[in-house]
Symmetry: C2
Subunit: 429 residues, 2 copies
């Protein structure tokens, strides 16, 4: 036994969930650099939203413990090794993806204050400040809430029940790996940081996929794990860019242009595999119909809401109509994936486009059926930009269940973006 290590461990007041500023999604850092360059001074509010209202977070999680975890995150700063990795690493084949001015800013960053209040059996948790700072709260805040909820359930279990629980979870994951092994030209990455069961479990899942799937496993969105396990960090961009750009628009005409402006800024900064558009923020159909031709030249598309097969078929038709060969294009599926769905989508689209999967919650948090009352089943927790320079943001997506924003603004956006009837699909994770 190493006495010194044991004694050192005693000095921790808490067992911190997030222990590094790069224990976050890679695309957050890519977007942060873009925002830092283009919209540095925008004031935003991010807010936690528990779409699964049947999970009484404030009853499950002690407010004091939650504050301790969030306070711990505010004490973090980029370590020298982390900075070296970000500066020196090759991402998507490109060196020095992060510019020096951004890195200097990031090295000096501490996350801004948070506002936490109990409302009934839920928490109201918001972050206010400049966009580049506040946006970095999203992933760690979600990871902390998810893991504190896991701990609340695990605390009631004794040592052997825990061992057996993880034995079963490992077995469950490995059965998925074995089913996926059969797929030719599979291309799958871990997107499960935000709603993971726990950090250690995500780390295990990533290693298991690496070991079990070999080259078919392309990497993880989690920078900390990518660094530690010497894997590729994966990701491009998310809804918050068009949402904030749209909220800042001064007219309906500017609003209609906003999603393309986001990608125009992105186009200036990135090439190749980072040129992946996310078209569903205000409806995929309208987005593609009105898209400028240079967007058809992009590398691919991420399908993140609605019926994924419909979305991909729509994109294929659109590329063909714009004179592009879909077989050269990449389609990344990333919404609520599970093995059956992955296999079905792979079967339908493999060979017709380059297919990738960004596997999230049901990779890193599939404890369904493993404890009584399914108390560890994952649920739908998000943390979103809700205002930008005082104005509300809006998200429509291809599923009205995922729509966000004030009703009148939703109506206006639907009009501006020409969104008709949408299929309603139940959101579980």
């Amino acid at each position: 036994m190493d006495i010194a290590t044991r004694v050192y461990n005693h000095k921790w007041k808490i067992d911190p969930i997030v222990r590094s500023l790069i224990d976050t999604d890679f695309y957050k850092l890519l977007m942060c650099q873009s925002v830092f360059r283009n919209r540095r001074d925008t004031q935003v509010t991010f807010s936690l939203i528990n779409r699964s209202t049947h999970i009484p977070l404030a009853d499950l999680i002690d407010e004091g413990e939650l504050r301790e975890q969030l306070d711990h995150i505010r004490s973090l700063s980029l370590s020298r090794g982390e900075s070296t990795w970000l500066r020196g690493n090759t991402f998507y084949g490109k060196r020095q993806m992060f510019r020096s001015d951004f890195m200097e800013w990031f090295e000096n960053l501490r996350l801004p204050p948070y506002h936490l209040e109990r409302k009934g059996n839920q928490y109201e948790l918001t972050f206010e400040g400049t966009w580049p700072e506040v946006m970095l709260w999203e992933i760690p805040a979600l990871a902390v809430l998810m893991e504190l909820r896991s701990r609340a359930v695990l605390n009631r279990m004794d040592r052997f029940e825990l061992q057996v629980l993880y034995a079963r979870a490992m077995t469950k994951l490995w059965e998925k790996v074995e089913r996926l092994r059969g797929l030719e030209d599979l291309n799958i990455a871990d997107f499960g940081t935000r709603r993971r069961h726990s950090f250690l479990w995500q780390d295990w899942c990533v290693q298991a996929l690496g070991e079990g799937l070999g080259d078919a496993f392309t990497g993880t969105s989690n920078c900390k794990i990518a660094m530690h396990r010497e894997m590729e960090a994966i990701g491009t961009n998310a809804h918050e860019l068009p949402m904030v750009y749209a909220a800042l628009a001064e007219s309906d005409a500017e609003l209609a242009r906003a999603p393309y402006e986001v990608l125009s800024d992105w186009h200036d900064e990135h090439e190749g595999n980072l040129r992946i558009m996310l078209p569903d923020t205000y409806g995929t159909e309208g987005f593609l119909k009105h898209a400028p031709d240079w967007l058809a030249g992009w590398t691919g598309i991420r399908v993140d809401s609605g019926d994924p097969a419909k979305g991909a078929e729509f994109a294929i038709d659109w590329w063909q109509a714009r004179g592009e060969d879909p077989r050269e294009k990449r389609v990344i599926f990333s919404d609520g994936l599970e093995v059956d769905k992955i296999i079905a989508l792979h079967r339908q689209f493999s060979g017709r486009v380059k297919v990738s999967f960004g596997w999230g919650t049901l990779l890193t948090n599939d404890f369904r059926g493993l404890v009584p009352n399914d108390a560890l089943a994952p649920f739908s927790l998000v943390c979103k930009a809700v205002t930008a320079n005082g104005r509300p943001t809006v998200k429509l997506s291809d599923n009205p269940e995922k729509a966000m924003g004030p009703e009148d603004e939703i109506a206006r956006y639907k009009r501006v973006f020409d969104v008709g009837e949408q299929e309603r699909i139940k959101v579980t994770v």
Copy 2:
């Protein structure tokens, strides 16, 4: 990291499988003391017998490694703490079960030489010398061979396959625990040392049963684990006693008396829960029919071959015929147990007698179905007394598949013990 420990570990030339002379079955020590008192100078030969000839042990296990493990066992002696535990512990409610003269002998014991030779794809492994010394080879020799075979298969697997393998094995065991939990007044102990998958796995299984079954788990036959985990050490006596006593008989009349002489010696030494007879060495039916009345007063019976339900029914009839109340008697089932069989026997006999289970190979070595070609499935390896003072030993048991000895001697024993037709039951473990 504790550098000193790491460096110390480097000094091991091998990873020893058996690291203690009390990593053995408790009944071996009870029997050893009895033999030490009554038949100390008997010269015996013990020999390894692989009943599962389809397992090519000599192809799987390197002879050099096997020799290293056996040599390591010869270097072991009783540690001070182990001696203190044996001297100071209460076994079956009795203090000082082990007499001082025996403990002094045991403290100075080193195991005698072994003879190892490759014969085709099997090993011939024999031990010769005085009975109290040689008999202590049985359990460690079996454990070494079983674990070297496990290692031979595990060596081909990589780190994650191993993790998943053990996750599955844990899940499998825990499902058994959950099925057994429902049984009222269950009484079950670990008898799985000799054919365990590995020491660490047995240790885990024992802990899992302790945690999962609570008081229904009565302990382990393994002294090392019982000491370390502060559990009961369980066991009474085995076939080797009547086998050697019988081989030493000078006439058919002496031979017919031999099995009762064993128990007469045992009667003098032990009381209560240690007075459990093992009647099947030369056929349960004849043994009970000709048994002296004082044996009907014993605490119970162990059923270790043949159809277990038939054996128990036969014992119940016998007790009733001798004026004993079967509800006061204990029946210990210990032959090839698996959960279905345990549940069925428990259902049939609970309430009619006191039922106990000694769960062996399929507790500590059930890796069936977990690797390709079932390469980790347990098999039937034994190590038996084959000669005593130069004469061959014989075992008949209630299943001719388990019979041992020269043909003419088997015929003679069948005649002397009045053994008729026996049901043939396939032996897997």
